[in-house]
Amino acid sequence: MSAFEVEQGKLRTPFWPKTRAFDRLSESHDWKGYASADAYLEGGLEYFAIRNSTGVFDLSPMTKYRISGPDSLAFLDRLVTRDMKKIRPGRVAYAVWCDDQGQVIDDGTIFHLRDGEYRVCSQERHLAWFTAAAIGFDVTIDEETTRVAALAVQGPTSFSVMQNLGLDGIENLKMFGLMHFDFHGEELMVSRTGFTGDLGYELWIAPGKAEALWDALFEAGKFLGIRPIGTYALEMARIEAGYLAPYLEFIPAEETVRTGRSRSPFELGLDWLVDFSKPVFNGRRALADEQRRGSTWRLVKLDIEGNKEAHHSYVYARKGGRMINIGFITSAMWSPVCKQNIALGSVKTPHGKPGDTLWVEIYYQREMHWSRVMAKATVVDGPFWDPPRRRATPPAPA
């Protein structure tokens, strides 16, 4: 880790006094000023906690905005591409927001905490954009990142952990739902959300109760294989679930300087999030245009032959006996649960329809020497990993 990174990642989350006891590696990276662990003990082990028991990820650095005021719904409805009127109190929506050119600025989750009161969570910061979007609306945007500590509790035994924690009624909580509980006199918000594509919850609490929550959680999970996980494990689960990561699957539109380097929701496979029945939302005019003209890019999920991970690879299509370069891989891994060599990529349309055969040029190094294979890849529809337990309500106890 360079000196610069140490400087950057010097803020500690409220869980740090607890997580440090697990930290055998001292390997972290910067996440908006916070030190975020890559792994605590061993990335692979932590990944298997997500898929086989319960992994706990400290997501406190996640950017959080509290949106309130009489126009909060109108503000959000104009901000994001999907219809926020359908998101009732107690529900959570995955959403993207675009600039006027219909290019994705970021994605995130919007929690309808109480009637007319929302929390927007995203990896990146957006106060400038949200403030501009609030011009003309009676709405308050309160950046509450440091006032809310959060944990993702993910994996097949996570429901039982929640039960052991004494969360009455958690069995009725559906995917993308949220509930409020009392925890030592503080409000604990629990949502059935996550970034792993598995059964899981996210817990939101005031920083003062963070350590107590951690203790209670690990007590509740002590016979259920609970273990803290770092970004490495989460990232593997994220790719298997087919979720997007900013700076990998797309560059936030406001950060691009070259034309054509940003992506629209259509180009990220998020057509289902764009609701043209709304007469106005940011990017609507451009997206309607794009829908008429056709998109330039398409996000593809690839099942690749062999076992060599396709990091940074070019993607080709065969055309009249020639290989033509149509795009590149954005995320790649060998998936232990799927036993598949998988990747996400960005390719030029019309290529990359589900079922299409494409080719991936993989470079790999063995004992200093580099080799290259052209591996056949199939475009798949839907996530690589999507177990029924993810949405079963009530979930099966461990």
Binding site: D99, W129, I135, P279, V280, F281
Partner: protein, 514 residues
């Protein structure tokens, strides 16, 4: 059921009238709604004291586009054409300037003035061709866009490579450096500086004041005239053209909001609760007022709203009207000189110093003035033997830190009259009545945001493709059915009619293609 029209124009300023008249002439059923009792917007003649009338805002005509007159078969009666400019000197050694020549200059200045004028004329001629065209879109151009863009390139190239480079270098530069480099005579430097900054929130040392100077020249080669009966002479004639072509014109009808239904403008609602529907709504109000107040941001996308919200609306020009019981005495000024335009801007530094306080929200204690005595040639404006003095007074910042109270207005009036008195010592004894309109007054009386001359600063970042803001420079706003047709759009302010005409053409073109 609301009344239906093919097009509704909000505002009967001269641009709204031009736009409405042209649409009506093209066979559209047009409704023009004006908030004031009188049509004309900032181009009107108004009574300000018993027996005395004056062009209440704009007072000199120098930008009216021949294309507008031709399309509407309009000819404007004037009492004065090609007026000279007299740069007043406190010692009476005034400078008389007309068409790139001046009396009382030394040889070097005379030569330089000739060269400067020739050069500016050449560059302003290039600008002039673009006044009457919709600026091209930079990306995703239609065929005409590409042609216009190519023409811009061609015309630029016709200038020659060296001249083109000079042009591109010059338009970002300030007028101060240019006049200081060329001239010795302080009055000349002051006069040119004043022309470059009138109506702006800029001093002669501010960037792109050569562009604003060129813009002023581009209208009609800088030739100054006054219409008979004042500015209403222009706008009443335009209103008549509009009515003759079948447009309905209703005054005292302020529009409260533009009705938006399912993502498009469908009409307007007035203060008195009447609604009128139309698939085309064109606003002559300034862009910021139109978007932020008449439409409201929630019907538009964020990036656009943010750009509109950032339009600089800091008006600095105030208007002084004096009813005089006779012509004042000015050393070195003959009676016939009162037919011309007089300037108080004794040197370039004076103009810059006048601007300094405006940066900090204060008015100039020593303002610059552009003075005319329109009654001298137009007896209809004042009782026999009496006169009207009309002056633009700068700088009087809209955002005055202490706020525009009656006391502040009086202070400004005193500063302006004191300044005139420095040249015309008997002025105070001659005053029968006086009126001072601050930018705040201009805003409330003429509904011009910030009282800004151009409905928004005219600067390199708000010019051609980016006027009023980038992505919306083709008169059509990013709300179906909504257009702008006033000074805030390309090419900018001044009594020119170019914006209104371009907007009408853009509306008709778009109708053809959709």
């Amino acid at each position: 059921m609301a009344d239906r029209y093919d097009a509704i124009i909000i505002g009967a300023g001269h641009n709204g009238l031009v736009c409405g008249a042209l649409l009506a002439k093209a066979g559209k059923k047009v409704l023009i709604l004006e908030a004031q009792e009188q049509v004309g917007g900032a181009a009107i003649t108004r009574k300000f004291a018993d027996g005395f009338s004056v062009s209440a805002c704009a007072h000199l005509l120098y930008q009216l586009q021949p294309q507008v007159c031709k399309d509407l078969d309009l000819s404007i009666d004037t009492v004065a054409d090609d007026m000279a400019t007299i740069a007043l000197d406190s010692a009476g050694q005034h400078l008389r300037i007309r068409n790139g020549a001046a009396t009382g200059l030394n040889d070097s200045d005379a030569r330089q003035l000739h060269a400067f004028h020739k050069r500016m004329a050449r560059f302003s001629e290039l600008l002039r061709t673009y006044l009457n065209k919709t600026p091209p879109r930079l990306a995703n151009g239609t065929k005409t866009d590409v042609v216009t863009l190519a023409r811009l390139g061609l015309d630029m190239r016709r200038l020659g490579r060296k001249e083109m480079r000079a042009f591109l270098r010059l338009i970002g530069m300030n007028i101060y450096d240019e006049v200081e480099e060329r001239f010795e005579n302080p009055l000349l430097k002051g006069a040119i500086s004043l022309d470059a900054v009138l109506g702006t929130h800029l001093g002669p040392r501010s960037p792109n004041t050569i562009l604003t100077y060129l813009y002023r020249l581009a209208g009609n080669h800088g030739k100054l005239s006054t219409p008979t009966g004042g500015m209403s002479g222009v706008t009443e004639a335009l209103a008549q053209r509009a009515r003759d072509s079948g447009a309905t014109l209703r005054t005292s009808m302020p529009v409260k909001r533009i009705v938006v239904d399912n993502g498009r403008a469908t009409g307007v609602e007035t203060d008195n609760g009447e609604t009128f529907s139309s698939w085309i709504v064109a606003s002559n109000a300034d862009p910021k007022t139109t978007i932020m107040q008449l439409v409201t941001p929630r019907y538009l996308e964020t990036g656009f709203v943010r750009r509109i919200d950032n339009i600089r609306m800091r008006g600095n020009a105030a208007k002084l009207h004096l009813a005089l019981d006779g012509l004042p005495v000015i050393k070195g000024i003959d009676k016939k000189d009162f037919a011309e335009r007089m300037l108080i801007a004794p040197d370039a530094d004076y103009v810059e110093r006048a601007f300094n306080p405006a940066k900090y929200g204060e008015m100039s204690a020593d303002p610059v003035l552009e003075i005319t005595v329109p009654s001298f040639r137009d007896p209809s404006l004042a009782p026999t033997g009496k006169h009207v003095l009309s002056a633009i007074v700068q700088y009087a910042p809209y955002g005055l830190r202490e706020g525009w109270s009656d006391a502040a207005r009086d202070t400004l009036m005193n500063h302006a009259i004191d300044k005139i008195a420095a040249y015309a010592p008997d002025i105070r004894q001659r005053i029968i009545a006086a009126e001072m309109l601050t930018p705040a007054d201009l805003e409330s009386e003429f509904r011009i945001g910030g009282g800004h001359w151009h409905h928004g600063e005219l600067a390199l970042d708000a010019f051609l493709f980016t006027r009023p803001v980038s992505g919306a420079a083709q008169y059509a706003m990013p709300l179906d059915g909504l257009y702008l047709c006033g000074a805030g759009t390309h090419p900018g302010g001044g009594i020119s009619g170019a914006a209104g005409r371009n907007a009408a053409r853009a509306i008709l073109d778009r109708e053809k293609t959709t």
